[in-house]
Protein backbone atom coordinates (compact mmCIF):
# COMPACT_ATOMS: atom_id res chain seq x y z
CA UNK A 1 0.00 0.00 0.00
CA UNK A 2 1.29 3.39 -0.88
CA UNK A 3 2.02 5.66 2.06
CA UNK A 4 -0.18 8.74 2.14
CA UNK A 5 1.97 11.80 2.50
CA UNK A 6 0.76 14.78 4.49
CA UNK A 7 0.90 18.31 3.21
CA UNK A 8 3.14 20.56 5.28
CA UNK A 9 2.14 24.15 4.88
CA UNK A 10 4.56 26.82 6.10
CA UNK A 11 3.16 30.33 6.35
CA UNK A 12 6.22 32.51 5.70
CA UNK A 13 4.34 35.62 6.75
CA UNK A 14 4.19 34.24 10.31
CA UNK A 15 7.52 32.34 10.48
CA UNK A 16 10.16 34.11 12.60
CA UNK A 17 12.95 31.64 11.84
CA UNK A 18 13.43 30.32 15.40
CA UNK A 19 14.63 26.83 14.26
CA UNK A 20 12.41 24.99 16.79
CA UNK A 21 10.56 22.95 14.14
CA UNK A 22 13.78 22.01 12.33
CA UNK A 23 15.66 20.94 15.49
CA UNK A 24 12.90 18.92 17.13
CA UNK A 25 11.65 17.06 14.05
CA UNK A 26 12.49 13.42 14.82
CA UNK A 27 12.79 12.53 11.13
CA UNK A 28 14.71 15.54 9.84
CA UNK A 29 11.96 16.55 7.46
CA UNK A 30 12.44 20.29 7.72
CA UNK A 31 15.33 22.64 7.06
CA UNK A 32 16.01 26.36 7.18
CA UNK A 33 16.00 27.96 3.79
CA UNK A 34 17.25 31.49 4.24
CA UNK A 35 15.22 33.01 7.03
CA UNK A 36 12.26 30.63 6.89
CA UNK A 37 11.66 26.96 7.59
CA UNK A 38 10.95 24.82 4.58
CA UNK A 39 10.27 21.18 3.77
CA UNK A 40 13.35 19.16 2.82
CA UNK A 41 12.26 15.55 2.85
CA UNK A 42 8.49 15.07 2.91
CA UNK A 43 8.75 11.28 2.37
CA UNK A 44 10.28 10.86 5.83
CA UNK A 45 7.38 12.59 7.61
CA UNK A 46 5.59 10.34 10.13
CA UNK A 47 2.86 12.92 10.91
CA UNK A 48 3.87 13.17 14.57
CA UNK A 49 2.77 16.83 14.48
CA UNK A 50 5.62 17.91 16.76
CA UNK A 51 6.50 20.82 14.45
CA UNK A 52 2.93 22.04 14.37
CA UNK A 53 2.57 21.71 18.15
CA UNK A 54 5.81 23.48 18.98
CA UNK A 55 5.73 26.27 16.41
CA UNK A 56 5.21 29.35 18.60
CA UNK A 57 4.14 31.44 15.62
CA UNK A 58 1.21 29.45 14.17
CA UNK A 59 3.31 29.12 11.00
CA UNK A 60 3.18 25.35 10.37
CA UNK A 61 0.20 23.24 9.44
CA UNK A 62 0.54 19.51 8.89
CA UNK A 63 -2.48 18.59 6.82
CA UNK A 64 -3.35 14.90 6.87
CA UNK A 65 -6.44 13.25 5.58
Amino acid sequence: MEKKLPKIEIIEKYCKGCHICVEFCPKDVLEMKGFYASVKNLEACIKCMQCELRCPDFAIKVITE
Binding site: I20, E23, L53, R54, P56, D57, F58, T64
Partner: protein, 273 residues
Protein backbone atom coordinates in the same frame (compact mmCIF):
# COMPACT_ATOMS: atom_id res chain seq x y z
CA UNK B 1 -5.95 16.94 10.33
CA UNK B 2 -4.23 20.13 11.27
CA UNK B 3 -5.83 21.87 14.23
CA UNK B 4 -7.76 24.96 13.23
CA UNK B 5 -6.49 27.69 15.55
CA UNK B 6 -8.13 30.44 13.50
CA UNK B 7 -11.46 29.60 15.10
CA UNK B 8 -10.30 31.14 18.41
CA UNK B 9 -8.01 33.84 17.02
CA UNK B 10 -8.95 37.41 16.22
CA UNK B 11 -8.55 37.81 12.49
CA UNK B 12 -5.64 39.90 11.22
CA UNK B 13 -3.73 39.92 14.52
CA UNK B 14 -0.95 37.49 13.55
CA UNK B 15 2.04 37.52 13.46
CA UNK B 16 2.14 38.18 17.21
CA UNK B 17 4.63 40.46 18.97
CA UNK B 18 6.62 37.72 20.74
CA UNK B 19 10.28 37.23 19.82
CA UNK B 20 11.49 34.34 17.66
CA UNK B 21 11.51 31.18 19.78
CA UNK B 22 9.51 32.64 22.68
CA UNK B 23 7.40 29.94 24.29
CA UNK B 24 4.38 32.17 24.91
CA UNK B 25 3.05 31.28 21.46
CA UNK B 26 3.24 27.58 22.34
CA UNK B 27 1.28 28.24 25.54
CA UNK B 28 -1.33 30.26 23.63
CA UNK B 29 -1.80 27.34 21.26
CA UNK B 30 -2.20 25.05 24.27
CA UNK B 31 -4.86 27.34 25.73
CA UNK B 32 -6.73 27.44 22.42
CA UNK B 33 -6.68 23.63 22.16
CA UNK B 34 -7.93 23.38 25.76
CA UNK B 35 -10.76 25.83 25.03
CA UNK B 36 -11.67 23.78 22.00
CA UNK B 37 -11.61 20.45 23.88
CA UNK B 38 -13.94 21.84 26.54
CA UNK B 39 -16.03 23.54 23.88
CA UNK B 40 -16.00 26.83 25.73
CA UNK B 41 -18.32 29.43 24.31
CA UNK B 42 -16.61 32.69 23.41
CA UNK B 43 -19.25 34.80 25.11
CA UNK B 44 -18.99 32.75 28.31
CA UNK B 45 -15.21 32.85 28.56
CA UNK B 46 -13.15 35.74 29.84
CA UNK B 47 -9.38 35.85 29.45
CA UNK B 48 -7.87 38.43 31.80
CA UNK B 49 -4.28 39.62 31.96
CA UNK B 50 -2.05 42.26 33.52
CA UNK B 51 0.96 43.79 31.83
CA UNK B 52 3.94 42.10 30.25
CA UNK B 53 4.90 39.96 27.29
CA UNK B 54 2.71 37.05 28.38
CA UNK B 55 -0.11 39.46 29.19
CA UNK B 56 -0.41 40.41 25.53
CA UNK B 57 -2.05 37.03 24.96
CA UNK B 58 -5.72 38.14 25.35
CA UNK B 59 -5.25 40.51 22.43
CA UNK B 60 -5.06 37.57 20.04
CA UNK B 61 -7.80 35.35 21.45
CA UNK B 62 -11.31 35.88 20.21
CA UNK B 63 -13.48 35.81 23.34
CA UNK B 64 -14.24 38.23 26.19
CA UNK B 65 -10.87 39.70 27.10
CA UNK B 66 -9.52 42.20 29.59
CA UNK B 67 -6.04 43.72 29.53
CA UNK B 68 -5.67 45.39 32.92
CA UNK B 69 -3.17 47.13 35.21
CA UNK B 70 0.20 45.57 36.01
CA UNK B 71 -0.21 42.64 38.39
CA UNK B 72 -3.90 43.27 38.87
CA UNK B 73 -5.25 40.51 36.64
CA UNK B 74 -6.44 38.53 39.67
CA UNK B 75 -8.26 41.55 41.12
CA UNK B 76 -10.09 42.40 37.87
CA UNK B 77 -10.84 38.73 37.21
CA UNK B 78 -12.30 38.34 40.71
CA UNK B 79 -14.64 41.20 39.83
CA UNK B 80 -15.70 39.50 36.61
CA UNK B 81 -16.28 36.19 38.40
CA UNK B 82 -18.26 37.78 41.25
CA UNK B 83 -20.51 39.66 38.84
CA UNK B 84 -21.00 36.70 36.53
CA UNK B 85 -20.23 33.44 38.34
CA UNK B 86 -21.33 31.40 35.32
CA UNK B 87 -18.40 32.69 33.25
CA UNK B 88 -15.22 30.72 32.73
CA UNK B 89 -12.51 33.09 33.87
CA UNK B 90 -8.95 32.42 32.74
CA UNK B 91 -6.07 34.60 33.88
CA UNK B 92 -2.81 34.75 31.99
CA UNK B 93 0.43 36.46 32.86
CA UNK B 94 4.11 36.16 33.44
CA UNK B 95 6.13 35.48 36.55
CA UNK B 96 6.91 39.14 37.23
CA UNK B 97 3.31 40.21 36.76
CA UNK B 98 1.93 37.35 38.84
CA UNK B 99 4.39 36.91 41.70
CA UNK B 100 6.03 40.30 42.22
CA UNK B 101 3.83 43.20 41.27
CA UNK B 102 0.69 41.10 41.56
CA UNK B 103 2.03 38.79 44.28
CA UNK B 104 -0.49 39.99 46.82
CA UNK B 105 -3.46 39.60 44.49
CA UNK B 106 -2.20 36.18 43.50
CA UNK B 107 -1.94 34.75 47.01
CA UNK B 108 -5.29 36.18 48.04
CA UNK B 109 -7.03 34.74 44.99
CA UNK B 110 -5.47 31.40 45.99
CA UNK B 111 -6.67 31.83 49.58
CA UNK B 112 -10.24 32.60 48.52
CA UNK B 113 -10.36 29.55 46.27
CA UNK B 114 -12.46 31.40 43.71
CA UNK B 115 -13.27 29.32 40.62
CA UNK B 116 -10.75 30.71 38.12
CA UNK B 117 -7.70 29.40 36.29
CA UNK B 118 -4.39 31.23 36.42
CA UNK B 119 -1.85 30.36 33.73
CA UNK B 120 1.55 31.71 34.74
CA UNK B 121 4.21 31.68 32.05
CA UNK B 122 7.42 31.58 34.01
CA UNK B 123 10.34 32.76 31.90
CA UNK B 124 12.41 33.82 34.94
CA UNK B 125 12.60 37.48 33.93
CA UNK B 126 10.79 40.69 33.11
CA UNK B 127 11.02 40.44 29.34
CA UNK B 128 9.06 43.42 28.08
CA UNK B 129 10.65 46.08 30.27
CA UNK B 130 14.23 45.16 29.46
CA UNK B 131 15.26 42.04 31.37
CA UNK B 132 15.12 43.06 35.03
CA UNK B 133 15.27 40.16 37.50
CA UNK B 134 11.96 38.83 38.78
CA UNK B 135 11.18 36.84 41.95
CA UNK B 136 11.54 33.69 39.84
CA UNK B 137 15.03 34.44 38.52
CA UNK B 138 17.26 31.63 39.83
CA UNK B 139 20.13 32.40 42.22
CA UNK B 140 23.23 33.43 40.31
CA UNK B 141 21.43 34.16 37.04
CA UNK B 142 22.17 37.41 35.28
CA UNK B 143 19.60 40.04 34.45
CA UNK B 144 19.93 43.66 33.41
CA UNK B 145 19.60 44.71 37.06
CA UNK B 146 21.81 41.90 38.40
CA UNK B 147 24.81 41.95 36.01
CA UNK B 148 27.01 40.15 38.56
CA UNK B 149 24.50 37.41 39.31
CA UNK B 150 21.25 37.38 41.25
CA UNK B 151 21.82 36.91 45.01
CA UNK B 152 18.14 36.14 45.75
CA UNK B 153 16.66 32.65 45.76
CA UNK B 154 13.76 32.25 43.31
CA UNK B 155 10.13 31.52 44.13
CA UNK B 156 8.66 28.09 43.49
CA UNK B 157 5.31 29.25 42.07
CA UNK B 158 3.62 25.88 42.50
CA UNK B 159 4.59 25.58 46.18
CA UNK B 160 3.61 29.21 46.75
CA UNK B 161 0.17 28.53 45.26
CA UNK B 162 -0.32 25.36 47.32
CA UNK B 163 0.77 27.15 50.47
CA UNK B 164 -1.56 30.06 49.81
CA UNK B 165 -4.55 27.74 49.39
CA UNK B 166 -5.05 27.08 45.67
CA UNK B 167 -6.88 23.79 45.21
CA UNK B 168 -5.44 22.73 41.85
CA UNK B 169 -1.80 23.24 40.99
CA UNK B 170 -0.07 21.90 37.89
CA UNK B 171 3.16 22.55 36.08
CA UNK B 172 4.20 22.07 32.49
CA UNK B 173 6.88 23.36 30.16
CA UNK B 174 6.82 25.02 26.78
CA UNK B 175 8.86 22.12 25.42
CA UNK B 176 6.22 19.55 26.38
CA UNK B 177 3.63 21.22 24.17
CA UNK B 178 1.38 18.20 24.03
CA UNK B 179 0.80 18.29 27.78
CA UNK B 180 -0.07 22.00 28.07
CA UNK B 181 -3.63 21.76 26.73
CA UNK B 182 -4.41 18.75 28.93
CA UNK B 183 -3.22 20.51 32.09
CA UNK B 184 -5.11 23.70 31.21
CA UNK B 185 -8.29 21.77 30.37
CA UNK B 186 -8.14 19.92 33.70
CA UNK B 187 -7.50 23.20 35.51
CA UNK B 188 -10.50 24.91 33.87
CA UNK B 189 -12.74 21.99 34.79
CA UNK B 190 -11.65 22.14 38.43
CA UNK B 191 -14.08 23.92 40.74
CA UNK B 192 -11.82 26.27 42.65
CA UNK B 193 -8.73 28.36 42.10
CA UNK B 194 -6.38 26.52 39.79
CA UNK B 195 -2.84 27.50 38.94
CA UNK B 196 -0.95 26.18 35.92
CA UNK B 197 2.69 27.19 35.84
CA UNK B 198 4.32 26.79 32.46
CA UNK B 199 8.11 26.99 32.42
CA UNK B 200 9.01 29.09 29.46
CA UNK B 201 12.03 30.47 27.65
CA UNK B 202 12.99 34.06 27.01
CA UNK B 203 15.81 33.94 24.47
CA UNK B 204 16.01 37.71 24.08
CA UNK B 205 16.47 39.02 27.60
CA UNK B 206 17.25 35.91 29.68
CA UNK B 207 18.98 33.56 27.26
CA UNK B 208 21.58 35.87 25.84
CA UNK B 209 22.63 37.13 29.29
CA UNK B 210 22.93 33.62 30.69
CA UNK B 211 25.09 31.96 28.05
CA UNK B 212 22.36 30.13 26.22
CA UNK B 213 23.59 30.06 22.64
CA UNK B 214 20.20 29.54 21.07
CA UNK B 215 16.50 28.95 21.54
CA UNK B 216 17.19 25.25 21.04
CA UNK B 217 19.58 25.18 24.01
CA UNK B 218 16.88 26.81 26.18
CA UNK B 219 14.27 24.31 24.97
CA UNK B 220 16.66 21.44 25.66
CA UNK B 221 17.14 22.75 29.19
CA UNK B 222 13.37 22.60 29.73
CA UNK B 223 13.39 19.07 28.36
CA UNK B 224 16.19 18.04 30.75
CA UNK B 225 14.93 19.58 33.98
CA UNK B 226 11.32 18.39 33.70
CA UNK B 227 10.43 15.16 35.49
CA UNK B 228 6.84 13.89 35.47
CA UNK B 229 5.36 13.44 38.95
CA UNK B 230 4.90 9.67 38.49
CA UNK B 231 8.49 9.14 37.33
CA UNK B 232 9.75 11.19 40.27
CA UNK B 233 8.17 8.75 42.76
CA UNK B 234 10.70 6.13 41.72
CA UNK B 235 13.66 8.50 41.83
CA UNK B 236 15.98 9.22 44.77
CA UNK B 237 16.47 12.67 46.25
CA UNK B 238 19.91 12.75 44.65
CA UNK B 239 18.52 12.06 41.20
CA UNK B 240 15.93 14.77 41.67
CA UNK B 241 18.54 17.41 42.46
CA UNK B 242 18.03 20.36 40.13
CA UNK B 243 14.95 18.81 38.51
CA UNK B 244 11.47 20.30 38.34
CA UNK B 245 8.33 18.21 38.75
CA UNK B 246 5.71 18.47 36.01
CA UNK B 247 2.11 17.33 35.79
CA UNK B 248 -0.70 17.76 38.32
CA UNK B 249 1.07 18.51 41.60
CA UNK B 250 -1.86 19.13 43.91
CA UNK B 251 -5.60 18.69 43.83
CA UNK B 252 -8.14 19.24 46.60
CA UNK B 253 -11.84 19.05 45.83
CA UNK B 254 -13.11 19.40 49.38
CA UNK B 255 -12.48 23.10 49.99
CA UNK B 256 -15.54 25.37 49.49
CA UNK B 257 -15.55 27.59 46.44
CA UNK B 258 -15.79 31.35 46.95
CA UNK B 259 -18.67 32.40 44.64
CA UNK B 260 -20.85 29.59 46.06
CA UNK B 261 -19.98 30.68 49.61
CA UNK B 262 -20.69 34.32 48.74
CA UNK B 263 -24.09 33.38 47.31
CA UNK B 264 -24.90 31.91 50.75
CA UNK B 265 -23.88 35.20 52.38
CA UNK B 266 -26.24 37.07 50.02
CA UNK B 267 -29.00 34.63 50.94
CA UNK B 268 -28.45 35.13 54.68
CA UNK B 269 -28.32 38.89 54.30
CA UNK B 270 -31.57 39.01 52.29
CA UNK B 271 -33.33 36.72 54.79
CA UNK B 272 -32.25 38.92 57.71
CA UNK B 273 -33.99 42.00 56.30
Amino acid sequence: MAFDYDKYLRPGKLPHIWCPGCGHGIVMKGLIRAMDTLNLKKEETAVVSGIGCASRLPGYIDCCTLHTAHGRAAAFATGVKMAKPEMNVILVGGDGDGTAIGGNHFIHACRRNINMTYIIMNNYIYGMTGGQFSPCTPTGAKASTTPYGNPDPGFDIAKLAIGAGATFVARGTAFHANQIDKLIAEAIQHKGFSVVEILDDCPTTYGRRNKYKSVIEMMNRLKDVAVPVKAAEKMTAEQLQGKVLTGVLYKDETKPEYTAEYAKVIERATAAK
